[in-house]
């Protein structure tokens, strides 16, 4: 039942690699709507990582806030500004 840092390290490393890819993609992609959606995916991967690190309450909050509400807020802003970014 008890958790061990070394028992699930493959899973952790996989999540961390995806975290890097998504973070770099979110700030380098030119389409702002795509950037917002990738940021939502980044939040969800972060939530899985925190579940693996025993922080269930924080992961629950992040799943509701990061993947749900904040993505919608960024999308709602992207609706009212120019969609393409220059860099």
């Amino acid at each position: 039942m008890n958790w061990d840092a070394s028992s699930l390290w493959q899973f952790n490393v996989l999540l961390l690699i995806m975290l890097f890819i998504l973070a770099i993609a979110a700030i380098s992609i030119k389409d702002l709507v795509a950037s917002a959606v990738i940021f939502g995916a980044y939040s969800f991967i972060m939530c899985l990582l925190w579940t693996a690190m025993l922080a269930v309450d924080v992961a629950f909050t992040e799943a509701a806030v990061g993947a749900g509400v904040s993505t919608v807020l960024v999308l709602g802003t992207a609706l009212h500004i120019k969609r393409k970014s220059k860099d």
Partner: protein, 249 residues
């Protein structure tokens, strides 16, 4: 600009990596962060508050004063967004994203949402009320409740939801949540204890001190949930319609 930014970032990185060598090993049970105040919380929480979920009890009892002002920060952020964006006159249309041409509603989406939203709201109430024994609490439940209203206004229309959930009541409820939190604390003050010392409720309700702590935390979390729910929906309504409250995402 860009080479300079990269240089600055890399130098900060080198400094931080050098500093990380002094940190305790990852997941070390004897690290300084887990050996000063948190053992007290882990050992005494169940005895003093009768709440098994340590995160809930530390959030709403031991660090209650902190959480109260976090709630106030959320309240202030909602009011700030309202002040910056809200307009009473209609601005000119300037939508960049493609919008659907047709006027009739999407029946599949609406009937699915009509099925899902009550389930979401009941689950959110469960998360708030059962937060003492399982992961959950006021913040999570409030966010899920707010997300259910956001889902409703995406599937239908922002106007349809705002007809039932008026802006006046949004403002009123956001203040009510903070007032419930502070009121529970102030009543403890009147009963002769410190601010937010829930043990004072024991005589008033005729229960033991531990149960009073548990009930006080439940009341506080209901206040947090009301504020968070209302502010989340108000943020969505203001940001997605750019302050006009006429047409959502």
């Amino acid at each position: 600009m860009k080479p300079l930014a990269l240089l600055f970032t890399l130098s900060v990185g080198v400094l931080l990596l050098a500093a990380s060598l002094d940190l305790p090993d990852w997941s070390d049970p004897a690290s300084p962060a887990s050996s000063h105040v948190s053992p007290y919380y882990i050992q005494e929480s169940l005895n003093q508050t009768s709440v098994p979920n340590l995160v809930s009890s530390v959030l709403a009892d031991y660090r209650s004063y902190d959480t109260m002002f976090e709630t106030v920060v959320i309240f202030c952020a909602g009011i700030t967004v309202l002040t910056i964006l809200r307009r009473t006159f209609r601005s000119k249309d300037k939508y960049i994203l493609p919008r659907p041409e047709r006027e009739d509603a999407d029946i599949i989406l609406q009937s699915a949402v009509r099925l899902l939203v009550p389930v979401m709201q009941v689950f959110a109430l469960y998360v708030i009320a059962h937060g003492h024994h399982s992961p959950g609490g006021g913040f999570q439940g409030g966010v899920i409740l707010g997300a259910s209203f956001i889902l409703l206004s995406i599937a239908y229309d922002l106007k349809t939801v705002l007809k039932r959930f008026k802006e006046n009541s949004i403002l009123f409820l956001s203040a009510v949540g903070v007032l419930i939190y502070a009121g529970i604390g102030i009543i403890c003050l009147f009963l002769g204890r410190n601010f937010l010392a829930y043990g004072a409720w024991a005589k008033l309700l005729g229960i033991t001190e531990q149960e009073a702590h548990s009930h006080g935390m439940l009341g506080v979390e209901i206040g947090v949930a009301i504020t968070v729910m209302v502010i989340m929906f108000s943020l969505y309504a203001d940001l997605s319609s750019s302050g006009d409250l006429d047409e959502g995402l």
